[in-house]
Symmetry: C2
Subunit: 437 residues, 2 copies
């Protein structure tokens, strides 16, 4: 008879239903690959009455997650409830019970990762978290295993489908942010309260996880520079197009002489780059390893079945641990938890990159020279300049791109420029990354 | 003291040198991730005198591969000599000695895979072959592990950098095939005898490996339909551009009602698709899983350091097996070798796809109606038609694209058309894939 591995699921929402559905759909295939049968022994959720459109055997559903955590026959616990508590407590209890844990909970791992991974290493259990970043994209495995021998020189990621959907629609249909946001909400690509996505917080959670894997260091979420997409206007998108760029919310990590720079902000990238062509709600990662060179991964960053696919990759890895009697994969976050040290990120003030500025200036003689003068005094060299709609009354946009400059200098210069009589309103700043490979 | 894992390398060519170089370059990083030190104990090659620009300790180099295979302290053998023999013999001997084997030898695995993997399973050793397909791209691991719970509905791959370099140059610089081939040879992107690459044989080897992983079946190399890029003309590339396509040498696998279609040929794909934007010598894979949806992977398909990066991912996986005392990864080719059955591929005659035809026809009244008539009789519907350079003497190109048609019908129709008095020379046929996701 075929061996069986019992699994338990906490959280029977969209992703949870996808996991149950996928097990039913490809049960034979999964058993063939594993050489064992996966049995969904118990499913816990506060709502055990609403139909998920899947037949569940009697006695499988429970309101009590501890029926799973304390079940000696269950060796893999899948946490898909989301949020901090009671998810954290359940995960820690499962670890202490010697169970492998599979989770898609990026908020939990970004905030309580140190505690959870330390507990897992101490109890010699495995934590699978492929689904926590990039949905179906195998970014976790690629960083931990495939590129394991590489020094990671940079990672650029489009990690939030909501933001990418909004920016794509704004670009393709020339619509303002708020109209597109409403559409995204209607289509289910944005939450009723979209703050978490559009302000970049979700991306920051994912970035914290990625950074810990890429650099084998503990990351303080608060140290990652963060800027959402709410200020991006149709004008900026149109100017970007004129300059041969597209605007994406990028999470950027770069190794700079042994220290790491990590920032999340709307970014102009050349429209021919692979990342610029990641549209709608897709996610993607562009990784530069010192040996591998550029590696680009693309796929659905969310959604029931794509995320279930990633959860299953972890379930199957965990099941092999169970079948082999011990955790025989690598360290949970690239290097041993006990060897991990905190990472010191480069302060945003000290980063150097290229910039796009959109000034709102009165159309008077000498405006350009005043602005250019202040930029020059702060060591900011102008690469290109566009001045449109000349001759109008009131403020007109003046657009500039720069060569590499220091963020601190840029802030100081803009502060001064924004105080000029001839400048109306705050200058728009978008960072430009154009020496991508 | 840190544990040590001894490795031995057979084949000190370009990739072999890359492996040695990468171990030196990132020794600390690798040791940290592994929790053990990798020691390159022996390197075998017929040439042990030419400098590879890397310092090698005394006694490490040998002309005798069996010094590695029979060394009881070496637990991982890296075969990077290429070719069928003695590579096959060495790999089989290493397996019988209970050693994990890492290889980049696609020709060997595509031809002798069944024998080698069966021996490895019997001896409970691991075979790592990430570098055999797609260079640095983690395609093997993605198929075996990340997408393990998916039914693979299709895979489309650009698996040969030489062909992609040539097609890119032909497209971007409007140059004929033979000029670009010469350039590629000068730049080291094509061999002096380029047959293996440009006729698609190298792609077929890689495809055979991919098919066995995606479908858990044994594949007969000869059953894969194969067409190289030597017949592609500047004209075809220009017409493709006019129609919104780019031409790529694609390896295509599709699941059709439980059976599999596998073919390698120049293919027109929409110029906006990610695969169409894989340029120069890069490789890429577009995989459609039933749960994951589209997953796209991109990177260097060859080259010293990118390939060494993939070899190292296998070395580190193997080292974890050694440190754990047994092979605790999944089956070598997705499912157990003993459970694998031969795959029956759909005969090329029976496949259905869209087509591009370029006829060389005399510019006379009724030509189009004659050609269209024959196509219609064979159930081939025309989607678009371009007729250029009308009014010239002699033959002019008439270009058509079709809706989905059966390959057998297409061949029969073209045979008849090519026998018409008004048609001069053989009609060019390029398959079109435009309903990609």
């Amino acid at each position: 008879m075929m061996k069986e591995v019992n699994i338990g699921l906490i959280g029977f929402g969209t992703i949870g239903s996808g996991v149950v559905r996928l097990l039913k759909q490809n049960e034979d295939l999964i058993a063939k690959k594993l050489g064992a049968k996966l049995v969904m022994k118990k499913i816990a959720d506060i709502d055990i009455t609403t139909s998920r459109g899947i037949k569940i055997n009697k006695g499988v559903l429970t309101k009590n997650a501890r029926e799973i955590i304390n079940d000696k026959d269950i060796s893999i616990v899948i946490e898909l409830m989301g949020g901090y508590e009671p998810a954290r407590t359940f995960v820690l209890e499962a670890i202490r019970q010697g169970k492998n844990v599979v989770t898609a909970n990026k908020a939990l791992l970004a905030t309580h990762g140190n505690e959870i991974f330390a507990a897992a290493q101490k109890n010699a259990v495995y934590i699978g978290f492929e689904a926590s970043v990039g949905g179906t994209i195998p970014i976790i495995k690629t960083l931990k295993e495939s590129l394991a021998a590489n020094r990671i020189n940079s990672i650029m990621g489009i990690m939030n489908g909501t933001c990418n959907f909004i920016l794509t629609k704004m670009t393709d249909e020339d619509k303002p942010f708020h109209d597109v946001l409403k559409e995204a909400q209607k289509l289910g690509f944005a939450e009723a309260d979209p703050t978490f996505d559009i302000e970049g917080i979700d991306t920051a959670h994912k970035m914290a996880i990625i950074l810990s894997l890429a650099y084998g260091k503990k990351v303080n979420l608060k140290d990652i520079y963060l800027e959402g997409i709410t200020k991006i206007s149709r004008e900026d998108i149109a100017f970007a197009r004129d300059l041969g760029f597209r605007i994406k919310l990028l999470a950027i990590a770069m190794l700079k002489k042994g220290t790491v720079e990590a920032r999340i902000h709307p970014t102009m990238i050349p429209s021919s780059h692979l990342l610029a062509n990641v549209n709608r709600n897709y996610n993607a990662f562009h990784i530069m390893g010192d040996a591998s060179g550029p590696v680009f991964l693309f796929g659905q960053g969310a959604g029931m079945m794509p995320t279930a696919s990633a959860v299953f990759s972890d379930i199957m890895d965990s099941a092999r641990n169970v079948l082999n009697g011990h955790n025989c994969r690598g360290p949970l976050r690239s290097i041993s938890e006990t060897a991990m040290t905190p990472i010191k990120l480069i302060p945003m003030d000290d980063i150097e990159t290229k910039y796009f500025f959109r000034f709102s200036a009165l159309d008077r003689p000498g405006v350009l020279s005043k602005i250019a003068g202040i930029l020059g005094k702060h060591n900011i060299s102008i690469a290109a300049c566009i001045q449109k709609a000349r001759g109008k009354r009131g403020a007109v946009p003046i657009v500039m791109t720069t060569y590499k400059a220091r963020e601190k200098d840029v802030r100081k210069a803009l502060e001064k420029i924004d105080r000029l009589d001839i400048v109306q309103g705050k200058t728009m700043l978008i960072r430009v990354e154009d020496d991508l490979n």
